[in-house]
Symmetry: C2
Subunit: 256 residues, 2 copies
């Protein structure tokens, strides 16, 4: 059965979407049938695939709020390898619509249930908040990846997310393993980045991936043409880092 | 009379707090009596001053929800020059507490009213969302600065903020001038950054500051010791950029 992996951090601009895009492509390259779910009303993962969120006939919103909708109608193929369920601003209505529904935190889990038979990995790109959308992703998840930028001010907000994860685990998803932390936008030439990375490793030990994603403009460029880094600059160290990460994720979730 | 300047962008990690900290220090250096207001429950501006948000006796929260609280009790002096009203997680309760209050969008405007007689500039560091806190800051503001990172995916979310500003202006703050855009984390060595900067200037013309803040690890390091870049590395090009920005802001708001 396939694994749902939520990519979450309520801090904005830490590399959630970039992780979903490139880890998805790398898992596909390893032969794993992979699905990406854009779960951010801003639709950034959808934009990163070269699509216009406002011109889509169906999105994750349709399947999320309406259990009778055939989710396969919202799945798009991509030249990057992994399939995509896109999102747009409609999704922001879901938080209000579901607020008083029974079991409102479990809707995404239900939505993705049948897809776990068709995909080895389903990566959910979370919005930068801890509202009902992110909670739904954490409840549906078999594992959680937290991208963290190696800068002093960015590393500080972790406590809120970890406390939320504990509560989700205790009440709604007891099987959830400890989250894994992915250091991103690492600037190896600076002492500051190295010191923060060291602090992250001292604090979280083996929960931190060996793979570190370096700061590179190439990751900001790739999405302009709707490409993953594996397609945009396949032989680069940056593409290699995501291949490395994909292998670590497979080992962690013991998928062989 | 002093001017309230909101520093807002619902996207996270674009340099709102860094702008408040360093523009505040630079305005003070020019002889302008300046106050910084941390209006983010994460308390990042408070942390950037070397303070522990959890050990404060009073914060902006006390004055914001309680009109009888003497706001001067919450003002702290700082070695960086500009005074500070700190924030902590208590502030996140305010959004719920004020939700059904009459005139809930005008609370901050009332809170800051008397301070406009004592300060030339009051800079409000907004949280990364468009909830009641940011709306309060936009209603209280005489001007708005929007930091934008010169990366393709980061530049895309502007429409939502600009639409919100239009609605605030139409219903609650008719005197609000067009916002000014501050390009941040600019990497002059990359074509990508230059292309996005060009797109920003083509789209917004004279609304974009001449000053551009470059990507530098020094801006991530300075807050560790609770310092602005003017104190941490006064002779640097980065400190100079904020001095430049302070002059532009003074001219824009015709304060002489
Ligand atoms: N390692 C990296 N080096 C340089 N730029 C990067 C890197 N990773 C991501 N970026 C760029 O940083 C910006 C933020 O990344 P991304 O959109 O993935 O973050 P996010 O956490 O999904 O943001 P949001 O919280 O807004 O959804 C984007 O412009 C992206 O292209
Ligand atoms: N020009 C710059 N170059 C490099 N790093 C920067 C620059 N400006 C800010 N930073 C760093 O980037 C991170 C985000 O900046 P900052 O906290 O100011 O953004 P923000 O918009 O206030 O974030 P949030 O939305 O979380 O409140 C911080 O670690 C900061 O030190
Ligand atoms: Mg994202
Ligand atoms: Mg901030």
């Amino acid at each position: 059965k396939g694994k749902v992996v939520a990519i979450a951090n309520q801090n904005g601009g830490v590399g959630k979407t970039t992780t979903a895009m490139n880890l998805g492509a790398a898992l596909h390259e390893l032969g794993e049938n992979t699905l990406l779910v854009d779960f951010d009303p801003q639709g950034t993962l959808t934009i990163a695939h070269g699509l216009d969120p406002d011109s889509l006939s169906s999105t994750i919103y349709n399947a999320f709020v309406n259990p009778d909708f055939d989710i396969r109608e919202a799945i798009l193929c991509s030249e990057n390898g992994a399939d995509l369920i896109p999102a747009n601003i409609d999704l922001s209505a879901a938080e209000v619509e579901l607020l008083s529904e029974l079991g409102r935190e479990t809707y995404l889990k239900e939505t993705l249930k049948t897809l776990k038979d068709h995909y080895n990995f389903i990566l959910v790109d979370c919005p930068p908040s801890l509202g009902l959308l992110t909670i739904n992703a954490l409840v549906a998840a078999d594992a959680v990846i937290i991208p963290v930028v190696t800068q002093y001010l960015r590393f500080r907000g972790m406590k809120l997310l970890l406390d939320t994860l504990e509560r989700v685990k205790a009440r709604l998803n007891p099987g959830l393993p400890p989250p894994r932390i992915l250091p991103t936008m690492f600037q190896s030439r600076t002492i500051h980045s190295r010191e923060v990375l060291e602090e992250i490793r001292n604090t979280f030990g083996s929960q931190v991936f060996q793979t570190v994603i370096r700061h590179t403009v190439r990751l900001a460029e790739a999405p302009i043409g709707g490409k993953s880094i594996l397609k945009f600059d396949s032989a680069s160290a940056h593409a290699e880092a995501y291949r490395q990460l994909a292998k670590e994720v497979k080992t962690w979730l013991s998928v062989n």
